[in-house]
């Protein structure tokens, strides 16, 4: 008789096997520390269109989703093949006509290898939220008052490529003596040796060999410092078109933007696809209401007031007319980052300018910002960097607290992996003006707006913690999802925004492929079309491809509830998350 390879249910279950096979087998060479995996299936959704395959894939992804919920974590499941999965792999390898499948010995070796991969234990099926008390009882109001004596203001430095962002940032740190002359001397010698002497100040921020050899910034660089009255976080961002994603990351961590404008070549950044316009548009779309416009390289244009006024006029028009900035929220100043004019020291070359230097402006901005925090607002923090630890259940993560407050001893939940961890300690890294010493101070309390490092303990599995994850209190976990409704503002487009066409969506420091899945309203009217035109405001449903993401609505958080959409290298739309569509 025939080995019954027939019948409906059999065929269906067969079709699901390759998925597991792919993902599991590819991870054999995975290095211990970093999370890597290869899979062909993760993107097949977008690559296939026929009905059957799609059906199939929805089966697989349903299954995936189910696994996700049952085990708390997808990757965990796949990096940790159960006996059943191992059997499946073996069986499937034998069946498959691909690659090593014909060789039985190899097959079992593969399957064994899979099981040998050092695997961390899977997240428990359901773990009751462990809510732990702060280690130390503190007088909250007193601690808050202390914090508010030196509030933190975060600002991002943005602008077209080569406008002098890194040089200005380096100059600021140098003139505040946070970078000592020995360090600068060394950088000057090094930059001279490769014929890039003019970049010595920029190299304070531009660290990697890539950045130094090419003379452009690639990723953001953040530094914290304290003056007598205030505390600041400065984030230098890249200006090159290709690195707008990194710049967006910087903007999402800032309260205020300093746009650096090159007075000698203002026009090249101000054309339609120049980054002066794009950066300012993004900043406004992500909720930056106040902007310092630093007209830089005034030395190159002979400290000309006419040139300054001309640029100021054009920018004001663009910012107020097109981006709807309030005129009073725009502060202009002429400067030279390279020479240091009007950065920390008042310029002698600009007698016609009677305003403040940059540092004075920042001090007064910090005072005018309302730092009052609502003690009851829920704790949320975005992870911005993950630092290795030698222990499996420990990890240090850094990030900015988006809302609420937190103390050592409390336990948190990390989404989307939905793990819990205990906060062992909280530190803040900063320098004092006048000293190049970098301090790492332990905190009894950390509040909204602060950049902190959290040392986590009792983690289920550190491998699943990624940049962009959201932390919240353990009794208030954030459930990830992959669909949401959104109020979307389209900018000037060269191609329509079509249903189904993938784009890159930015939310806080994450970027991820997504697409429109439906368009409900356009400019307030019911819509039947499958496309969006330039300068429309619409209500749409956005579907995130590849994975689920922890999301908050605009109502819940004014910063995390915003998204920016880029396609083919252009910023095409920005939106506010209205509702999460959990399945």
């Amino acid at each position: 008789m025939i080995d019954a390879d027939a019948g409906k249910s059999k065929t269906e279950s067969d079709t699901q096997l390759p998925f597991e096979f792919e993902v599991s087998v590819q991870i054999i060479d995975r290095p211990r520390r970093f999370l890597t995996f290869e899979s062909r299936n993760t993107f097949t959704n977008a690559l296939t269109g026929d009905k059957l395959t799609r059906q199939l894939e929805s089966q697989v992804s349903n299954k995936r989703r189910k696994i996700y919920h049952e085990h708390g974590n997808l990757l965990n499941f796949f990096t940790n093949p159960s006996e059943a999965v191992k059997k499946t792999i073996k069986k499937n390898l034998e069946k498959s006509k691909l690659g090593p499948s014909s060789d039985k010995d190899k097959v079992s070796k593969l399957a064994d290898d899979v099981s040998k991969v050092k695997i961390s234990k899977p997240a428990p099926v359901k773990k009751p939220a462990t809510v732990s008390k702060p280690k130390q009882k503190i007088n909250l109001d007193l601690e808050l008052k202390k914090k508010n004596e030196k509030p933190n203001l975060s600002f991002v430095v943005i602008g077209h490529v080569d406008s002098g962002k890194s040089t200005m940032t380096g100059r600021l740190l140098y003139d505040l003596n946070i970078v000592d002359s020995k360090t600068l001397h060394k950088l000057t010698k090094e930059s001279e040796s490769i014929g890039k002497a003019s970049f010595s100040l920029a190299w304070i921020m531009d660290q990697t060999s890539e950045e130094r050899n090419r003379g452009i910034t690639v990723d953001i660089c953040q530094t914290q410092f304290e003056t007598k009255q205030s505390s600041f976080t400065i984030i230098d961002s890249p200006g090159h078109k290709d690195y707008v994603p990194q710049m967006i990351n910087g903007v999402t961590q800032a309260d205020l933007a300093i746009a650096i404008i090159d007075a000698s070549s203002f026009e090249s950044g101000f054309i339609a696809d120049g980054q002066t316009k794009e950066h300012l548009t993004i900043a406004k779309s992500l909720g930056i209401e106040k902007c310092i416009l630093l007209i830089n390289k005034m030395d190159v244009v002979g400290w000309s007031k006419d040139r300054y006024d001309e640029i100021k006029g054009q920018l004001t028009e663009f910012l107020t007319d097109e981006l709807k900035y309030v005129k009073d929220d725009l502060i202009f100043l002429p400067a030279s980052g390279y020479l240091g004019d009007n950065i920390v020291k008042k310029s002698k070359n600009l007698p016609w300018y009677s305003g403040s230097s940059l540092i004075e402006l920042l001090e007064s901005e910090n005072k005018s910002v309302n730092h009052k925090i609502d003690k009851k607002s829920p704790f949320v923090m975005t992870i911005n960097d993950v630092m290795e630890s030698s222990k499996n259940d420990e990890l240090t993560v850094s990030g900015r607290i988006n809302s609420g407050l937190i103390q050592p001893g409390e336990s948190i939940s990390i989404s989307p992996s939905q793990q819990t961890a205990l906060i062992h300690s909280i530190t803040i890294t900063k320098s004092n003006v006048g000293s190049s010493l970098v301090k790492n101070e332990a905190q009894k309390l950390a509040i909204e707006g602060e950049f902190v490092e959290l040392k986590l303990k009792k983690l289920d599995n550190w491998e699943n913690i990624k940049v962009g994850d959201l932390c919240s209190l353990a009794n208030n976990p954030i459930k990830p999802c992959n669909k949401f409704s959104c109020e979307l503002q389209c900018f000037e487009l060269t191609r329509l925004l079509l249903i189904g066409t993938p784009f890159v969506m930015f939310r806080n420091n994450i970027s991820i492929p997504a697409r429109l899945s439906s368009i409900e309203l356009v400019n307030g009217k019911k819509n039947k079309k499958k496309h969006l035109r330039s300068n429309t405001v619409s209500t749409v449903t956005i579907e995130i491809l590849e994975r689920d993401m922890p999301l908050l609505t605009f109502g819940e958080n004014k910063k995390l509830g915003r998204v920016v959409i880029r396609k083919d290298g252009f910023t095409v739309a920005a939106g506010k998350i209205l509702d999460l569509l959990h399945e």
Partner: protein, 385 residues
């Protein structure tokens, strides 16, 4: 595909014997084979044999048997590069009872015979296109950015993601970027490994490396450095096959973006894949300019083709629309195509296994570019908002 023989009757019924040679052929067959066709092929089965030694239990032997199936459904698994057919046997033999259900896979380099009651023009075109001797161009592509890379194969009819490499890269810090640099180096090495494992450079026409910034260049340098240390002559000699292009993202959509750049457009203009990307882009551009020169949707297309003679420059349609059990519908789409060609237009069939085809599918799967603007083509049914 290789055509072995064909035999047709006056009523357009008949059979064709074919041999599939690559995964593109499997996709063609997926679109060719439909419900109620009859297929005869050879397949391997485990047959239980009673052992001569009565004490021992039955042993299983592997045997090649001939099956003739009345097709109920078929499915294509791009990840697996396999195409399975499900149906009921219409012929009996020693090993197979009549009317039993079976699933069979089309094997490469194995003959099979397909009978259809109605070989329409579209079916015949599928066969003749895939049997044409024109060399098929297969491309490799790596789309990457710091921390994530996608290794793909691109054929005429599909884009297959072969591998995804991910690695978290620590941020640079003021005064120290060693963690970042080290992780980046490791990440690129992992990409090289993955490329060498999944892309057969010898066999490919070109390999595109696409990224924002300089990452693509760094990867190519690393691949070539590896070729030197490994003494890999084929790889060294294939250096000119590698093409670097820019994109704004390392996600897969970066591939399409790069293909729209003038440099690659020129370089790959002879591949179907690139042509479809360019055509879809042209379509969306017209759509944006709103001159009434581009329309999508069955009703709109129908109107343009049937009522405005000679207006259609290109009819774009996905293979998904033809893959239907509704014979009338299929016939209708074929008629639309015929009419367009008759009137001097062009018909382009998009593969839904490419991103461009998937995107067209999301826009109803059918669209036209017109020779001249017709602003209110959709008037009758769209003014009630």
């Amino acid at each position: 595909m290789k055509l072995i023989s064909q035999e047709f009757e006056k009523d357009k019924s008949g059979k064709i014997t074919l041999v599939a040679q690559d995964k593109d052929d499997l996709w063609t067959l997926y679109n060719l084979i439909s419900k109620d066709d009859e297929i005869t092929l050879r397949t391997q089965r485990n047959i239980k044999k009673k052992s001569t030694n009565s004490a021992a239990s039955a042993t299983t032997i592997r045997k090649t048997i001939k099956l003739t199936l009345n097709v109920e459904s078929n499915e294509f698994l791009p990840s697996d590069e396999s195409m399975r057919i499900k149906g009921r046997t219409t012929e009996q033999n020693d090993d197979v009872p009549l009317g039993s259900y079976h699933t069979a896979e089309i094997q490469f380099d194995e003959k099979f015979t397909l009978h259809k009651d109605n070989w329409d023009e579209q079916y015949l075109k599928l066969v003749s296109d895939s049997c044409s001797i024109e060399a098929k161009a297969e491309l490799g592509a790596v789309v990457l950015e710091e921390g994530v890379a996608h290794v793909c194969l691109i054929t005429d009819s599909m884009t297959v993601l072969r591998a995804k490499v991910e690695k978290s890269i620590p941020r640079k810090r003021r005064g120290d970027s060693s963690g970042h640099d080290k992780a980046m180096d490791k990440f690129l090495s992992m990409c090289v490994d993955s490329c060498l494992r999944h892309l057969n450079v010898d066999h490919l026409k070109a390999i595109l490396i696409v990224s924002p910034g300089f990452t693509a260049k760094l990867l190519l340098d690393k691949i070539m450095a590896r070729a030197v240390t490994d003494g890999n002559k084929t790889l060294l000699q294939s250096k000119s096959k590698f093409v670097i292009a820019g994109s704004s993202t390392g996600y897969l959509q970066g591939l399409e973006e790069a293909l729209k750049s003038p440099e690659l457009k020129k370089q790959l203009s002879d591949t179907k894949f690139q042509q479809h990307v360019a055509l879809f882009d042209e379509f969306t551009k017209y759509l944006n300019d709103d001159e009434g020169k581009a329309w999508y949707g069955e009703a709109e297309v129908e109107k343009a083709v049937m009522e405005l003679q000679g207006a259609v420059k290109v009819l774009m349609i996905t293979d998904t629309l033809f893959k239907t059990d509704d014979i009338q519908k299929r016939k209708h789409f074929i008629e639309l195509g015929d009419k367009v060609k008759e009137d001097g237009g062009e018909v382009v069939i998009f593969s839904s296994l490419h991103d461009s085809g998937e995107q067209l599918n999301q826009l109803t799967g059918i669209a036209v570019i017109l020779n001249y603007p017709v602003p209110n083509l959709d008037e009758s049914d769209d003014e009630d908002d």
